[in-house]
Subunit: 258 residues, 3 copies
Amino acid sequence: MDQQLIEKVMQQVSDELGIQQTDSRSERCGGIGLTEFVGTAIGDTIGLVIASVDPLLVDVMKLGKYRSIGIIGGRVGAGPQIWAVDEAVKATNTEIISVELPRDTKGGAGHGSLIYIGAEDVSDARRAVEIALQALPKYFGDVYVNDAGHLEFQYTARASYCLEKALGAPIGRAFGMTCAGPAAIGTVLADIAVKAANVEVVGYCSPAGGTSYSNEVLLTFTGDSGAVRQAVRAAIDAGKKMLGALGDEPKSTTTPYI
Amino acid sequence: MDQQLIEKVMQQVSDELGIQQTDSRSERCGGIGLTEFVGTAIGDTIGLVIASVDPLLVDVMKLGKYRSIGIIGGRVGAGPQIWAVDEAVKATNTEIISVELPRDTKGGAGHGSLIYIGAEDVSDARRAVEIALQALPKYFGDVYVNDAGHLEFQYTARASYCLEKALGAPIGRAFGMTCAGPAAIGTVLADIAVKAANVEVVGYCSPAGGTSYSNEVLLTFTGDSGAVRQAVRAAIDAGKKMLGALGDEPKSTTTPYI
Amino acid sequence: MDQQLIEKVMQQVSDELGIQQTDSRSERCGGIGLTEFVGTAIGDTIGLVIASVDPLLVDVMKLGKYRSIGIIGGRVGAGPQIWAVDEAVKATNTEIISVELPRDTKGGAGHGSLIYIGAEDVSDARRAVEIALQALPKYFGDVYVNDAGHLEFQYTARASYCLEKALGAPIGRAFGMTCAGPAAIGTVLADIAVKAANVEVVGYCSPAGGTSYSNEVLLTFTGDSGAVRQAVRAAIDAGKKMLGALGDEPKSTTTPYI
């Protein structure tokens, strides 16, 4: 009993952090006997495709010209999924239909995600979903969590269509993000980031504006790729100190990449 | 100590699922010494009445002509409460004043609920609340949960005023719903449902439209009662497979009824 | 191992309640080596200052004329933080810039908070944040919780600028609040409060109106200070009975003050 008990408690602690520590299930994807299923990944994220959405749903789902869609959605995380899908649309013949941000993270301070990817051919949609699922662990690398909240940092040298659709990123330019919950920490991170390097602000989101009432302040910015990366990096250390003052030392969910 | 510890851990696991497994408290309702109290039921749901709402509150609460109200509200679940109250209004001389959907489920992906029932006489309001509390376990029957999320399916052969107010159901007609969180699963369920039978879409809700930023996609539909039931049933098996790919096998909260 | 296990379980139970039972960290504030840091307090609340917000952020943060700001934000609780900051603005040369209410409480039914305080001089902003952090435990005193939800009651003999900004309180007058989640309980508390004394309603908030989709009904009122206090007190006992019907006896988070 003791071992089971420990596992249950550990699972609970892990759930509280809002993150699955590992997910080997994505390696056995396709085994559930449903043609729509592609795979799963970290953050209770599932990847699905619909080869031809029923005509009754095309309008209510606002699919535009697309009938073949890929779907990426998770309970925990929006930034990582958005960055991962951005990588997927760069590598495939697909477009972003919509990005929605539920208020979730399984009791955490942030968002979950629901992203629709459009394609002429379902094999393209499936490929995009596969790439996004594979890329997802990377983009959880600079998500740091403890029992009080989380920090999230993202960076790309070249933003593409998913970052444009979800966060207004300028296509083809470097793009960075600082984010924290509780939101108060995110405010200070935003100030530290813009003071650290010569960047241009793209967006500022707070609980009452731009988020789905998440307990986060989020800043996005563009500029020279070196400057954007420098701004993000400057905020990481400060974020860990502030969130660490409310609990244990915040830990990377996977492996930092910035 | 060990036994207490186990109970606490079990309670936590149960809480994580967002559901009270059993609730014998509804049987000892009325015992708290407060005239407004009617009873409790599954999903941290409480039933209350106010015989005559204070005039100071009638406008801010948007009660219209009613002064006697019944109140059903829970932390976990909106669909089950809406369906249970629909049954209650059919059986009593009451009307639906309002249905509100907080973003809740105690860390889960969905909604809680707050429903005001209006009556000329408080005894009618109380009776409606009693019926709704009694019916509630039935409508948790096709709510399936695991640690990653939930599936919800509902069906009625004849929709009444609560389903009309809350979900736009056509009065007197068969009405069904598919729903899942994470939302991505709900999207595929919607497509499976409309492909399975000749139904007419009533509503489609997603995190950014029609929900209170819950991590759900929800489809409602009407049609011939056999077709509506067939559409719902087709989605149940697929839903269990998809949600099961993210965690344990999803289990019914009570006993399936569809 | 057993002792660690017990501590982890206890922590989880405490987290489920959405409240840190004690927080001695606020006494060792300033020790994290970041000039912006002021301290922490109950409810995963952090207090911060920015001496001069970067010009790039002044507009997006809607700071108006202020460059020096104090920041109070927590995962759990909005009312306590609003009341504590109200006390702080009375005692310092500061103003309230904004009050935002994320949907949070770490899986609970209510809000978190993000409050920006403006000052001509950063030392004033810092002093206000210090006072708010010190006052915060008092205003968690009439927050009562169990595993099903929470009750919150607040009272002041003289409302100031933070209560005006956040809740529309009339400056200088007595001001009270009743609140509960699940929301159904809050509805009955509102009715009990206005029937108990001669008060004037200021605001009524529910999941779909005035909250950030929290599972709460909240009533605020003004009047003679004796009447306001009497209205609040009348609701406390009824609230404990109703919430207690859904779980254990609701306990004060700190020490009741009303």
